[in-house]
Amino acid sequence: MGSLFRSAEMTLCQLFLQSEAAYACVSELGELGLVQFRDLNPDVNAFQRKFVNEVRRCDEMERKLRYLEKEIKKDGIPMLDTGENPEAPQPREMIDLEATFEKLENELREVNQNAEALKRNFLELTELKQILRKTQVFFDEHEGGVNPTESMTRALISEDSIARQGALGPVQLGFPEKSIDPEEFFPCFVAGVILRERIPAFERMLWRACRGNVFLRQAEIETPLEDPSTSDQVFKSVFIIFFQGDQLKTRVKKICEGFRATLYPCPEAPADRREMAMGVMTRIEDLNTVLGQTQDHRHRVLVAAAKNIKNWFVKVRKIKAIYHTLNLFNLDVTQKCLIAECWVPVLDLETIQLALRRGTERSGSSVPPILNRMETCEEPPTYNHTNKFTSAFQALIDSYGVASYREMNPAPYTIITFPFLFAVMFGDMGHGLIMALFGGWMVLKEKQLASKKSDSEIWTIFFGGRYIIFLMGLFSVYTGLIYNDIFSKSVNIFGSKWMVNKNWTFENVRNEESWMLDPAKTYEFEQVPYPIGLDPVWQMAKNKIIFQNAYKMKISIILGVFHMLFGVSMSLWNNLYFKNKLDIICQFVPQVIFLCFLFLYMVLLMFIKWVSYAATNDPGLLKSSPYCAPSILITFINMVLFKPSKVPLGCDDEMFAGQMVIQKLLVVCALICVPWMLLAKPIIIMRNQKKLSYSLSHQQMQSAATENGDASVGATDQQPMQNATQVSAGHGGEDEMTEMFIHQGIHTIEYVLGSVSHTASYLRLWALSLAHAQLSDVLWNMVLSKGLIVEDWRGGVALYVIFTFWACLTVSILVLMEGLSAFLHTLRLHWVEFQSKFYAGLGHAFQPFSFEVILDTASAPVEE
């Protein structure tokens, strides 16, 4: 028993483990995940612990695995995830693993290096090939004699050279031109490849540095080339620069270097070029085969690794976790035995013992481990056994504060009250159904969806709260049924109890714009309510909001008061459990009286009003007619202020006989509760302390007297000391007392004012429900109904479009946004209005050493 209603009973244990068996035992405990180890050497630096070396080795292995994983992902090889959970390997297996990883990593690095070198080679050859091909075009053009296209570059060439060119006709650039200047005659061009985006700057630079004495031609390489170091695709251009003279040559070369252009030799004679091109082609082909083989090899290595990588990750992470845990242990003096301290759920002690025995057997040690329960005054951690259904609700509670140890856990009650209060605000069958279907789908497809592990945060939140969403949807359908509201329309299942005559013609209502059906007339109202939910006629009524406000405000308060009373009564169970008799008498009882006598009485008045006032046309029944029906709120305010309520002429000022007297009595009783809550507890504690200290001092005096009698010498030293301790104790006591008074004062004020403000706070149920209903009403009238009034085939088209629009708005605004706001308000009602009545939430959560948790958190960042 004790599941979820209170946190599990915990005990602190001491664990003695044989050095050899420690690893295996901790591994077993990690699989179990029921033990929280305490750090026994908190003052020891992380680098000075016993198993630092092993942890480091694990880190190194993990790094290698991550490298492998990165490479695998780069190649897009699917990683086999069988979901199997290998046991933590024996420590001696670690060396094997290390060797495997080392080998793999080295192999891979080598392959990568080779591949890179090959690729660089390949790139160079491709560039050369491109140069040869492109420059061929340039040379051909010049041999042809006419430039078919006047490039930008041409325009940059100085007037002078153009003039010279013009004078000499077509110039075969790159060839000796003896006739002009025999001294400056050199094989004067360079060819190379440069990044395309650098071209404009390159061109400008060349022009400036060489004062326009160079001629640049360029052509783009259409296919992107792969940069071997970064393996990015880059676009490059081939260029060829013509110039004259040695000086210019060095300058051009320097500029090329500066712009990271690669220069390639380019023979002048066309025959040489052709030959070279042929050579390049064959070499490229050779390289391609080698490259293919290298890639194949790499692929094989990676595919082999991909099969095991998840498995290895699990193993390494487990080893690391075990050594981390072993680092928390203390070494005993003999060095033969490790001592651990851990928190353990009492009910699971047996399972833990079993796990330890298994671990010992596995390690082959003969000495069994010893598990000792320890006495401690420390507050044990809070551990709630949750399952997949309850864990989401527990998370809602825990995000407010983890329950104190063995405190009443609100989570089991929240399972229903949360969806219910949500649904009161979200009451609409249609919207509820959408929500329930979504939640139900997530619940049904739970396993498939969970294994997918999406990294979208919003999805994770939705999926985590799938049971909450499902229940919220179901309850919304129910409250929608009661509100008789489905996408802002009503359904007339049982037949409205309000009647309109069949023969009613236009003449009957000609004079009036609208007509109110009279509840007193038996031919307009059947005198019995619609059996389930609101009568559908109200949906069409013009005074719908007036009627619904009265109803919804009342139910908000009714539900609120019951919810708070429930909360207060939970504190009784807490006090009974912790045997806190004083708190029951001095807090619980006055709290209940206060709440019941004021607010539960108000609820009672609401029911009385519903029963005892009815519409009537009989003047004899005037006193119970709507004319005399008092406002509950005004009555309540007058009751607290001790004022008689003002009533219309001819009405009773009391709803029932003796109301005034009873009300006065109730208020007086409630007011008496305030000083009771405020003073009773501190005064009783103070009196008890006085009694205790009196009896103590009495004893001391007696003992002092005997001492005096026996040894008068010793007593003279002791007396001042005793007095001193007594004085200090008295001081401490006084401080404590004032603190207690202040604390109690705050508590009382909080409760008394809280009762009022919390009751009012439950009116949010009404407000949000009204807002939701109105919003969906507006959406229907403003959007969907517009699509319903268009006639013939155009109507179909219009409705198609408008319905899409309406459906999108319904889901996004009414279900998602309104749902979120209702969710937050419900959360507030639970955290503030409900839990403040009994829940301390001062505990700290139990964090067991569990492989499952460690692996989950470790794999999460990789998913990013």
Partner: protein, 87 residues
């Protein structure tokens, strides 16, 4: 006054079965307590919610105010009053 016994009894027994009878037949297991609480609270909240709605309509102090067109349509569709309005 305005109460009709049949829906009251039917609905109350329905939720009483959920909230009082069913908790006794929950199979034994670690989650028995939770299921019992869930059933009882569901019954209590749903019954209370229905009851409030029912009682609020038992003795209505006002009637629905309908506009002309609505009345005409209602007269055509529902038209269930036993007496012809003499006006």
């Amino acid at each position: 006054m305005g109460a009709s016994y049949i829906p009251f009894i039917v609905f109350t027994t329905l939720w009483a079965i959920v909230g009082i009878v069913l908790p006794f037949v929950v199979p034994k297991g670690p989650n028995r307590g939770i299921i019992q609480v869930v059933l009882m609270l569901t019954a209590a909240t749903c019954w209370l919610f229905w009851l409030c709605c029912y009682m609020a309509q038992m003795n209505p102090l006002i009637g629905p105010k309908l506009d002309r067109h609505t009345i005409m349509i209602l007269a055509k569709e529902w038209g269930n009053s036993p007496i012809t309005l003499a006006k």
